[in-house]
Symmetry: C2
């Protein structure tokens, strides 16, 4: 029997305050979320793999300037972009990841190419860029990733650092990710990020780490995390959620909400969100910040998109 | 009530065939294992922390030419050393890690310095080297890590690649690691490696990945892995072992042997080993290869050292 299909994404829990963007800009960011869902959903409903769906979804988010990944990625303290991404196939536990990449237009495609090659799972720095080039992926100058907004964010973060004031979540971080369940019942997850604004050069967060920011395992769940990576790393978040389900019989909702609100919430207050799907097509998108760019299409085909508390219905999509 | 203390280490499951070294060289490698245990044990028996003990133990192994970490690390395909290390405190879940370092004499000290700073957990490449220098750690030329044996291993691996023959485990990989339980009942783990001989530049394995090659959590266990890193990464090995104990009530022996012999053994045949300790001072050092450099001091003070099947008793050490 063919499985239900389901798809969810996040565009980072570092959502800007509502008054930072114009209504037209907010509408465009929601449209880009819907576009990304459409790319993944069309693959799923035609019987394509969850792996192809999460990659296609993340590519759209990487190409949008609204999210902290690919074009529009955060600038580090050296005014450069260092990009991290991972992808994982829940059916085979195959995975690929890049960290500290500087010239790969779509880092998630490099992660996917590593998964397909099946040799090294993780490559870092210029070696990741060189691999992507040899794999035929598009190579760009580091400045391709820069937007006026990210230059402004770096200026603000430096001002906060100089004055000792706190930055908002929206100024600090962001990430994109997607999770999917396909017709064959397989799960997959993918994540891509520029890290947080003004991060130290060379810093790697949870996004490209298998079992932490990115994890998928058939029979349990697929998870992509967003927020302060170090919080997720100490808790091995993705694999902990899957383990709670596999070994302790918890539901996707219990396991994901425990991680975001209880475990990380109690340790650090705020700074965490994620999207997750299980083998029955249940979707969870918890976050403990002011907002999280997010969207999903349920197993019934209902599409929802949101940036702050409220969700906007985008109709019932054909399955 | 003061806890029992216990300490275990591995020097990699890529043990050479017995006839590759002279009897004197094998004796020296066992002595270096005993020296490393002594460094950690002296800290533990004086009431020092598990974190200090695993760091001190790994430093001795990094400084010995017999093991694939620090001096004596494997050469990659570009005839360079790229070093990875991580350390984790089971009491706080604090962690530090470096990957792709090229100039830090003792990478585990850089991982510890990151843990202590409490900001970024993981730094990669030249940024890891720069951080270590700024933290006052000893910086060396990349050639410091090279030994005649590793040049020979690279020659052999290239010959295998050219002729399509298989390399032995001993020619391929190695890693060092330590786990400890201290008087206060806290657990810690540390790992350091040069990766496998002839690895692609930029490849990162499981060693520096929190929850995979290195993991510690009070109430569960501390684990350091050795072998083909990609096997451990797909299985999120360290955290999976701890989760089996925490969430499914398995013993340290059941959880570690399942990972090495059942999970990885069935997926890949061979290529895995680890050392682990739990909160009661139980020690496990399973491996599915021909041998594994290893040593441990039990909660009763009994010290054992070995490289292949047999263990050599080194007496009962004062607690």
């Amino acid at each position: 029997m063919a499985s239900k299909i389901a798809l969810a994404l996040h565009g980072g829990c570092g959502t800007l305050p509502v008054d930072e963007l114009t209504a037209a800009e907010w509408a465009e960011s929601r449209d880009h979320i819907a576009d990304a869902l459409r790319a993944g959903w069309d693959i799923l409903r035609r019987g394509g793999s969850a792996l192809d769906a999460v990659e296609a979804t993340v590519v759209i988010l990487e190409n949008s300037p609204h999210f902290n990944a690919g074009h529009g990625a955060a600038l580090n303290a050296a005014e450069q972009h260092e990009l991290d991404s991972a992808i994982m196939d829940g059916a085979t536990l195959g995975a690929g990841a890049v960290a500290g990449a500087g010239r790969i237009r779509n880092p998630v495609k490099a992660a996917r190419a590593l998964l397909e090659r099946g040799d090294a799972i993780m490559l870092i720095g210029p070696s990741a860029d060189a691999f992507a080039g040899s794999a035929g992926l598009e190579i760009v100058d580091n400045s391709y990733f820069t937007t006026a907004r990210r230059i402004e964010m770096l200026r603000r973060m430096r001002a906060h650092a100089a004055s000792g004031t706190s930055a908002s979540e929206g100024e600090k971080h962001g990430t994109v990710g997607a999770v999917a369940l396909d017709r064959a019942g397989h799960l997959a997850a993918a994540t891509s990020t520029g890290g947080y604004t003004n991060k130290p050069p060379g810093r790697v967060g949870d996004s490209p780490l298998i079992g932490i920011g990115t994890y998928a395992r058939d029979g349990a769940c697929a998870v992509s995390c967003t927020g302060m990576g170090e919080y997720f790393m100490r808790n091995v978040a993705g694999h902990e959620i899957a383990s709670q389900m596999r070994l302790a019989g918890r539901s996707l909702k219990e396991a994901t909400h425990t991680m975001v609100f209880d475990t990380i919430g109690k340790q650090y207050g705020i700074g965490a969100g994620l999207c997750a799907v299980d083998g029955q097509g249940h979707i969870e998108v918890p976050f403990n910040t002011v907002g999280m760019y997010r969207g999903f299409v349920t197993a019934d085909g209902d599409c929802h998109v949101g940036t702050h508390a409220e969700l906007e219905c985008r109709g019932r999509w054909d399955q």
